[in-house]
């Protein structure tokens, strides 16, 4: 980012300081890295409930009679499949098939789509979508209008239902409802980035401190913890969710990142489609694989990966998986080297340490009974 550009702060900055958070720069924002500790926060989300300030995330709205046409054209998943109140994971691609960003598309009404995009990409995404808007749809940069909180974990539902008259249990996974939390208007989505059940709440920035404190109070009996970006990253890695700049970026195309499932080639024309057709014809040469360390050492982002001692790829995300008590990672490898059970080596400070390709996600929650 541009030197000297001041870091942005969320409306919860003062609350984080009060709670003793250690702050860190992320994507141009000053965000909580951790409060009590990454491991404790990680385990709270797996076993109870955790609360994250993710107000740095961007929001973009597409509105008007041609909103669907534009949304369908710029994203890869099939927007026309959404019913009102439903969300989907999707991607914005360049014409060459690389990622502009990944995102969530929410259908608010037939002429209103609400997109949640990555913090550091929101301006780029807005420019990208606007530049492709030959349909006279209205594209609105809405980031400053929303704070976002993520309430995640097996007790997220129990926590949230104390603070809203809405039947939040009735909101199905990847659906959302516009309602109230703590008496404040909020968009309540059953989505998340942790591999657990939970909710993401979009609300007015000025209401964020009240709702954040309300949720911490309501969750106290369940062992709620405020959680920072440290735990957000270890949780998403265990659940094998992509992070822009790591598993996906402008040089990576969806089939390589094992994200073909969010690309609907049969839906008609969309940006990147022709490039993906050409890629399908030639075949994918590299793909993302999950691994567990077998030797002593922790793989970190950017470390080289070897097969039979020869350079073969790189670690996109790596580190400890606190719930599994293992050291894991994701890496790009030639397709022929990426099968489960294959031994690979990770270059850790000049030393080759053994690892093994394993099935992902590393962690999958058991379905609620």
């Amino acid at each position: 980012m541009a030197a000297g550009k001041p870091l942005q702060r969320t409306p919860l900055y003062e609350v984080h300081r009060e709670l003793g958070a250690r702050m860190v720069e992320f994507g141009g924002w000053e965000m909580p890295l951790q409060y009590s500790g990454v491991v404790q926060e990680h385990l709270a989300v797996r076993q109870a409930v955790g609360l994250f300030d993710v107000s740095h995330m961007g929001e973009i709205e597409i509105r008007g009679p041609e909103a669907l046409t534009l949304a369908e054209y710029v994203t890869t998943n099939q927007v026309s499949r959404l019913t009102v109140g439903q969300a989907q994971y999707s991607a914005l691609l360049y014409q060459h098939g690389g990622f502009v960003d990944d995102l969530l598309v929410h259908k608010v009404s037939d002429d209103h789509y609400f997109l949640c995009v990555n913090a550091a990409n929101q301006e780029k995404d807005y420019q990208h979508i606007s530049s492709l808007n030959r349909f006279r749809a209205e594209v609105i940069f809405a980031g400053p209008r929303y704070a976002q909180l993520a309430l995640q974990g097996p007790r997220a539902l129990d926590t949230l239902r104390k603070l809203t008259p809405l039947d939040v249990a009735a909101i199905a996974y990847y659906y959302f409802v516009d309602g109230e939390v703590c008496g404040v208007a909020a968009r309540i989505a059953r989505t998340g980035y942790t591999g657990e059940d939970g909710f993401e709440l979009y609300l007015a920035p000025e209401a964020a401190p009240q709702v954040f404190r309300g949720l911490l109070g309501a969750g106290q009996e369940f062992g709620i913890r405020p959680c920072g970006l440290g735990a957000r990253n270890t949780l998403r890695l265990e659940a094998r969710m992509a992070l822009y700049g790591h598993e996906i970026d402008a040089t990576i195309r969806p089939p390589e990142a094992e994200l073909s499932w969010i690309v609907k080639m049969n839906k008609g024309e969309f940006v990147g489609r022709a490039a993906l057709e050409r890629l399908a014809a030639t075949g994918v040469r590299r793909k993302l694989a999950g691994f567990e360390m077998r030797g002593p050492g922790i793989a970190r982002d950017g470390y080289p990966v070897y097969v039979d001692g020869r350079p073969a790829g790189w670690v996109t995300s790596g580190g400890p998986a606190p719930y599994l008590n293992k050291n894991v990672g994701l890496c790009f490898l030639p397709v022929e080297c990426a099968e489960v059970g294959r031994r690979i080596q990770v270059g850790i400070r000049g030393r080759l340490v053994e690892a093994e390709i394993v099935r992902t996600p590393f962690y999958k929650r058991s379905k609620p009974s």
Binding site: V39, H42, N233, N327
Partner: protein, 127 residues
Amino acid sequence: MYPEEFKYTREHEWVKVDGDVGVAGLTFHAQQALGDIVYVELPKPGTRVEQGKPLGTVESVKAVSEIYAPVSGEVIEVNEALAQAPELVNRDPHGEAWLVKIRLSAPEELASLLTAAQYGELVAEES
């Protein structure tokens, strides 16, 4: 907080010297700044280390950091317990979680290290 009988580096290591052997570790402040420590990599006994040069690495959940040798000499013993229980560094950084014992080759180097009071000031400035 910071024992008087230790000497400290600006990089947050401590050393306690007894005769010609120094026991070295990470300071309370270092472990606090690192957060949950999940891995410690140390040299084998017999390795020669030089003051201010890398001695090993310590990894938290989030990041990798170098450990620097507080004094020059030969590593004569390594705390094997840390391989299985790196979290000891968070729990008892000035005691049970010592890292290595070094036979000093240049005891005069100790004069360049910080006293407990000086180190305490450094930490206060940093936080």
